[in-house]
Amino acid sequence: MDAGLEAQIDQWRGYVRRHRAIAASDVDEMEDHLRGQVDDLRATGLDDDEAFLVAVRRMGALDAVSREFAREHSERLWKQLVLVPGADDAGDGPRWRELAVVLGFAVGAGVAVRLGLTLLPEDVLARFVTFLVLPFLGGYLGWKRRIGVRTVLAVVAPAVVLALVLALYPFAAGGSTEVIAALHAPVVLWGLLGVVYVGGRWRSHPGRMDFVRFTGELAVYVALLALGGGVLVGLTAATVSLAGGDLETVMGEWIMPFAVPGAVVVAAWLVEAKQAVVENIAPVLTRVFTPLTIVMLVGLAVVLLGAGDLADVERELLILLDAILVLVLCLLLYSISARDPLAPPGVSDRLQLVLVGVALVVDAVALTAMASRIAEFGASPNKVVALGLNLLLLVHLVRAGWLGLGFVRGRRPFDDASRWQTTYLPVYAVWAAGVVLVLPPVVGFV
């Protein structure tokens, strides 16, 4: 058989494979059929192209065939997770090796945290715990992506600088800059993890959006694993206590230090193996929570406007507002990352716009009050950071709202809104790095 026909059959395979209800082994079966048909047709005097076209046409419209497969194999639409080679699968080796690598990294992260618990004082450990876990996550992703030496250096060098800064800055014991730095360092590390995730192509917008999807799916998987693990540990603890034992010490010293970091690495592996959860869950979550969040924000606006003087709670309120805006933003990102970019604007796009609008109103009201109070009573590191983050989020949401409005009104493609998200995301990592590196010396490590 000539190369042209082989290429056509390959293309057809790829096209069939995109139908989730049709499994790889079914494609093999259908390919055998197609090739048999093509051979017979060529024997009757058709040329390769004609034979291929007729054979494909006789196979039928793939969407209809796929629906038929879906009716017979409804379990496949509950997407199958193939982690280790099964009887039906031709390939082996790599998957088993990947499983071994994943478990290696998961145990490694557990050992690192366990050693940290033994060797480091509690406050130092709190500052460095992400440094103990994320390198293993990054290690797995880097191994999976086969990243080059330059990418490794580009990621490891900033991480080391960050770790040195956290270790060597003379933070005042229990001071606010220490807490602020410890909170912001993970954001920088997550940004670096993103560079590993996209295999060094950090300028690529689709790559960044993939990382957003990865983050969302990872969160869902970690939550699921935590839930399952919690039930398991709870039942075990209850049984042990009935038998007169106590699991608490073992739990704090051994189970949690290994289970939590291990779950993060394993979750990353699950995301890599089955990149479809967000597709299934994101639309559901966003559709349920977008209206609920709108209701919450409207309630909040009423409370804020009715409260009058907000000066007494200024810092807590600022932090709370940041949390609300982050929530709105996550909802927005989560749905954008899972949305079909070609679909026309729909109800959920309008709801999202309302959500952004209401969030902006709430923020504007509170921010005005806060800014005037800060101008009057002076700033603290906490206030400055909270206010700064608030402004970053504000810019992000205003532009997202503007582009979303353009999309809903049919003036702009959806890609504009999506691209704005991926353009703006690195700003947060840069901001967090600034907060860790610059803020403490400026305010004297208080």
Partner: protein, 125 residues
Amino acid sequence: MHIDKDLVAASATPLVLGILADGESYGYAIVKRVHELSGGRMQWTDGMLYPLLHRLERLGLVEATWGVSDVGRRRKHYAITPAGRAALVERQEQWAVVADALRQVWDATVAAPVRPSARTAQGLA
């Protein structure tokens, strides 16, 4: 001639089981056999055969094994099971009743002037 798709669908299971009762076979060969048996007048959408075979496999009426064709391609072979033979007997009885009833109706209409649509139906029976 175009045969109504409901009729094709209804006859597919007994046809496949009947062909497999003759001996083990695989997808493309089954389609070819149907083509031969109907003198090329029954056109299946070939892709639809596979969900059907999988359903029969799930119901335990056929058994599937992966083998290799003469030219070395992976090929799934299907063989009828005892349960499949029993199902085939049952289907044959059902179709005999239907065909018998239809034949009597056709015979009655032959006395009346034959319309083109009636002739089409006769060819089918």
